[in-house]
């Protein structure tokens, strides 16, 4: 009868492509990535300008290592950004997923297109996950670049005492990026769920960011040690094991499993909320 009826159904990757285009064409996204990129630059410049000799126990250990090897700038930037800056930017993107569309009114047009509610939720989560990767990559790549400019580059001495070349370090850096990106997936799932609860994106962003702070504060209370392994931020800074030979993947796996649990729980909650939600905006 109608042409639309006979048109073949595509797999629907076009919407994912569109989501990524819209996300990475937003000035806000670029502003956040630029702010993240400034972190390794600031660290490198500050260390370069300070004349004080390396005093052991003065600041994070990586900081003093930078002067010997520029490759450490990216890693140091990650350590600095994981507790605050990365959750901050991820909270903005994840909190905006559904609530942002709702506040623009575009949510109703996506749904009557029809995007399908589950498909839209999956695409939105994939977009947030892509941002986690982009944010982490930005820190590490800009860190490597500025480190190469300001400091000598050379073989890296690992925690286990072995020394690896620049190529070997590149592999480790890739693993850092994977580790930190995966670390942020649980928080993204929480943000996605919160985003289905409201039509005010700023509220969803703030709530997500506050939760990341709460999780890290709970981690500091020894009385709550029983719940610590279940906090999504528990393994956030646990990537030191990747600096050993052979690489110890135990924490990597535990972290991935924990994040998967959070994705399952909050993904289900988001689905439960969003699949039956009245879209009144």
């Amino acid at each position: 009868m109608s042409q639309s009826e006979t048109a073949p159904r595509s797999l629907g990757f076009a919407l994912l492509g569109s989501e990524l285009r819209v996300l990475f064409r937003r000035r806000r996204t670029w502003a956040m990535l630029a702010a993240l990129a400034a972190i390794p630059v600031l660290i490198a410049v500050a260390v370069r300008l300070s004349d004080s000799p390396d005093a052991p126990g003065d600041g994070p250990t990586f900081l003093s290592d930078i002067t010997q090897n520029g490759l450490f700038v990216g890693l140091t930037a990650l350590v600095f950004s994981v507790p605050l800056f990365l959750p901050l930017t991820v909270g903005v993107v994840a909190g905006d997923t559904i609530a942002g569309e709702a506040s623009l009114g575009t949510l109703r047009y996506l749904l009557v297109a029809p995007s399908g509610r589950v498909r839209l939720l999956l695409v939105k989560y994939a977009g947030a996950a892509a941002f986690c990767l982009a944010a982490t990559l930005t820190l590490v790549l800009v860190g490597a670049a500025i480190g190469a400019v300001l400091f000598p580059i050379g073989p890296v001495t690992l925690i286990s005492g072995d020394t690896i070349g620049v190529g070997g370090y590149a592999l480790r850096a890739t693993l850092f990026v994977a580790y930190v990106s995966i670390s942020l997936l649980g928080l993204s799932a929480i943000g996605l769920f919160i985003s289905t609860l409201t039509t005010v994106p700023v509220g969803a962003m703030a709530a997500t960011i506050v939760l990341s702070a709460v999780s890290q504060i709970l981690e500091l209370l020894p009385q709550l040690s029983a719940v610590h392994p279940w906090l999504f931020s528990h393994y956030w800074l646990g990537f030191a094991d990747l600096l050993r030979t052979p690489i110890d993947f135990t924490v990597f796996g535990q972290n991935a499993l924990l994040q998967l649990g959070y994705i399952a729980v909050f993904g289900t909650l988001a689905y439960g909320r969003f699949s039956t939600k009245d879209i009144l905006s």
């Binding site: 109608s2 623009l104 109703r108 047009y109 009557v112 297109a113 839209l120």
Partner: protein, 313 residues
């Protein structure tokens, strides 16, 4: 009318927010191929109904069939055949008009990506936005946004268009263009479901009308049927007001309180105006003028929905 001939059919449709019934016992029957005006004052439940028709919100009670299939269960099959403009247009302000349409088109899995560019350009052209397609949507005027919203509804060939207040914010020229667009779509066989609180807009393009008032359907039918339900009045200008009243009463009419030289009464279906004239002349009533005043659709609309300026509760 059988269900197969209806583009939209609802039975006892209801929607309650808290304790407030926004829509109550709605039985819509929109024939295929019709241009269906969905009238009602602000707050009468039109948009709530449209949200339910499109599966955006769930009904508290009752059933919905759109293009012969159950909503929301079959929404994935039905909605690709439905173009919609719901409660005003909405866009990504940081994308251009063209990019906005491409974005919404990718959401439809039935929309082939091969023809996307061509379809987007055709839709922009159809609403007269081809020149402004590269501008960011935040720079669009309300009228341009409205046009872009219409273009979005026309990205694919549709069997049904649901347009909620499509001429909102348009200048008279734009309103006329939208009207002729609706006519040309209807002549292609597309059913157009058009909501409006402006009767004049509906009267000019619609074949069928339904009138909502405080969540309930108070009238439904073809435009002619609705007009016929309205009554005519006969107004007699005469110095012999008393005699004229007696004559009208003898014909079974109920004259209202007469003014100095004017008496008027509702004209029942069985009494032709010429019978009134003849009776008056026979009774030697000096008639200076006699007029039959047909009730306009607007009078009918006001009679059905109430005159108040207040938004319905």
């Amino acid at each position: 009318m059988s269900s197969a001939e209806l583009a939209i059919e609802t039975t006892a449709l209801g929607k309650t927010f808290g304790r407030q019934a926004a829509v109550d016992g709605l039985a819509l029957a929109v024939p295929r191929g019709s241009v269906f005006g969905f009238l009602g004052p602000n707050g009468s439940g039109k948009t709530t109904t449209i949200r339910m028709l499109l599966g955006l919100s769930s009904a508290t009670s009752g059933e919905i069939r759109v293009l012969g299939q159950q909503i929301p269960d079959a929404a994935a099959q039905v909605l690709p055949r439905v173009g919609a403009l719901v409660e005003g247009p909405a866009f990504y302000p940081f994308l251009s008009g063209r990019e906005n349409l491409r974005r919404f088109d990718t959401a439809n899995r039935h929309a082939p990506s091969r023809s996307r560019s061509a379809r987007v350009e055709a839709a922009l052209d159809r609403v007269g936005l081809a020149q402004a397609a590269g501008k960011k949507a935040h720079a669009y005027s309300l009228g341009m946004k409205q046009r872009l919203g219409l273009a979005n509804a026309l990205l694919m060939p549709r069997d049904l268009l649901v347009l909620d207040e499509p001429t909102n914010g348009l200048d008279p020229q734009g309103t006329r263009e939208v009207r002729s667009l609706i006519r040309s779509l209807a002549s292609d066989g597309t059913t157009v479901f058009l909501s409006s609180h402006l009767l004049a807009e509906v009267e000019q393009v619609c074949t069928h009308v339904a009138v909502m008032s405080t969540g309930r359907l108070v009238a439904q039918g073809s435009l002619d049927e609705l007009r016929a339900q309205g009554t005519e009045r006969v107004a007699v200008r005469t110095p012999d007001v008393g005699d004229a009243r007696r004559v009208l009463a003898s014909l079974g009419l109920t004259p209202d309180l007469a003014r100095d030289d004017l008496v008027s009464a509702e004209l029942p279906a069985g009494v032709p105006p010429e019978a009134v004239t003849a009776a008056l002349v026979r009774a030697d009533v000096r008639v200076r003028g006699l007029a039959v005043v047909g009730e306009t659709l607007e009078d009918r609309f006001v009679a059905l929905t109430g005159e108040g300026f207040d938004v319905a509760e």
